[in-house]
Subunit: 243 residues, 2 copies
């Protein structure tokens, strides 16, 4: 929702934007065995929301999503994909929008375009959260990483959107592995197992994990890691670039 | 597109529908080792299109998709899922819409709602095509199954939509198997292999296929098929209902 109100409050008709269509971005952050999600807080309302926005009538829907990701994190060239369209009529709830506008001293007319029913295209991304620069927009007072075990109650159906995004992230993780580009440098099998365990939120058996991953044929072994204790040094791997 | 124009041509503002949002349904039909897709032909225009429609402001987007599927096939309780949102600005092409309306003697004003930019939510389903009753709408003169190897050129980006739907259907077929509900009665391993081979459009090795499928743990063996030549009779299987 971050950009949704910037420069648009005076425009009750939403000219320049596709009507009734929003984007919500579930930006997962991973680092050091932690998985988090990026959330905005709206000033003086106690409302939490996913970053999001609207689609300019001169841009593709996917472009709008990349713009939202960049505006909130400074990141580009990140795997970002649609995962679901949230289009139930029951999600039409004008109360939070009115509250956010009220804090800014705006009382919108009943036919204000932002109060109409919106269908939202959900996108998800997975980034190294130490590389992102969380950036609130002009009407939110913070943009922060929240642990998935510790989410606040979010506005509208945003908790559901995160749940569905997490299921999408967890499903067929093997096939997404390279695209996420999270482990760009050489890594150990242990690093990769930690990534899996964090995303799947469960412990995996080391031997079975290694056998499965090597069976995918997407890794190549590079060199021994030097740790000082040579007999314990694990192998290093990298993704085969041409797969 | 099937229902898109019914009862709406006189309504240049599209009241009662969500603005700028369409649904396109890729309905795959399977039977006897053939995979087809359902297409409409628009009268006297030579235009082919996917079945589709718009979303009433009183219904969920997913409900609208089920309505389209029912209207065009008579089928309910079918696995039907979103697979992608087609939202590029380049897909805005008013020529085919104007041609379809022109055949009906309608010259729409330039600001007619149907001539605005639409974002389309793509849905796909897989049905037994012998159980569907293809039903054209009031302005198409036919609704027919077309072989995937033999598709006509479709309006707008509908060929691309089919391509993407097919990729979705082919990916992770194992996980979709039960949901499709295509093999409801007992079936042989050969029946199942034929289904896979047809959808994936390639031959599979029998022993490897059987090993993989049984490894999924979703089948149970029922009884020997009686064919008259008992020593050749294949086993029958069914899906384990509680998985």
């Amino acid at each position: 929702m971050s950009n949704k109100f910037r420069n648009q409050e005076a425009n009750a008709h939403g000219h320049g934007y596709l009507p009734g269509l929003a984007i919500d971005a579930v930006i997962f952050g991973f680092h050091d065995n932690q998985l988090k999600v990026l959330l905005l807080t709206y000033k003086n309302t106690g409302l939490f929301a996913l970053p999001g926005g609207f689609v300019h009538d001169t841009e593709d829907v996917n472009e709008a999503a990349r713009r939202v990701l960049f505006d909130r994190t400074g990141l580009t060239n990140i795997f970002l994909d649609q995962f679901y369209v949230f289009g139930d009529k029951s999600r039409h709830d004008t109360a939070p929008l009115k509250a956010i506008m009220a804090v800014r001293g705006v009382t919108p007319p009943d036919d204000h375009w932002l109060l109409k029913r919106f269908v939202s295209v959900g996108y998800y991304a997975l980034v190294d959260f130490t590389k992102a620069i969380p950036t609130p927009d002009s009407i939110s007072d913070s943009c922060d990483w929240f642990g998935l075990d510790n989410l606040p109650e979010l506005m509208q159906d945003h908790n559901l959107i995160i749940k569905k995004a997490l299921e999408t992230l967890q499903a067929n993780l093997d096939q997404k592995l390279i695209g996420f580009n999270l482990l760009t440098d050489d890594f150990t099998m242990g690093d990769l197992q930690s990534l899996y365990e964090t995303i799947l939120n469960k412990k995996l058996i080391r031997a079975a994990f290694q056998r499965k991953i090597l069976g995918l044929g997407i890794l190549e072994r590079t060199a021994k890691k030097w740790t000082g204790g040579a007999h314990k040094a694990p192998y290093l791997y990298r993704f085969i670039s041409e797969k």
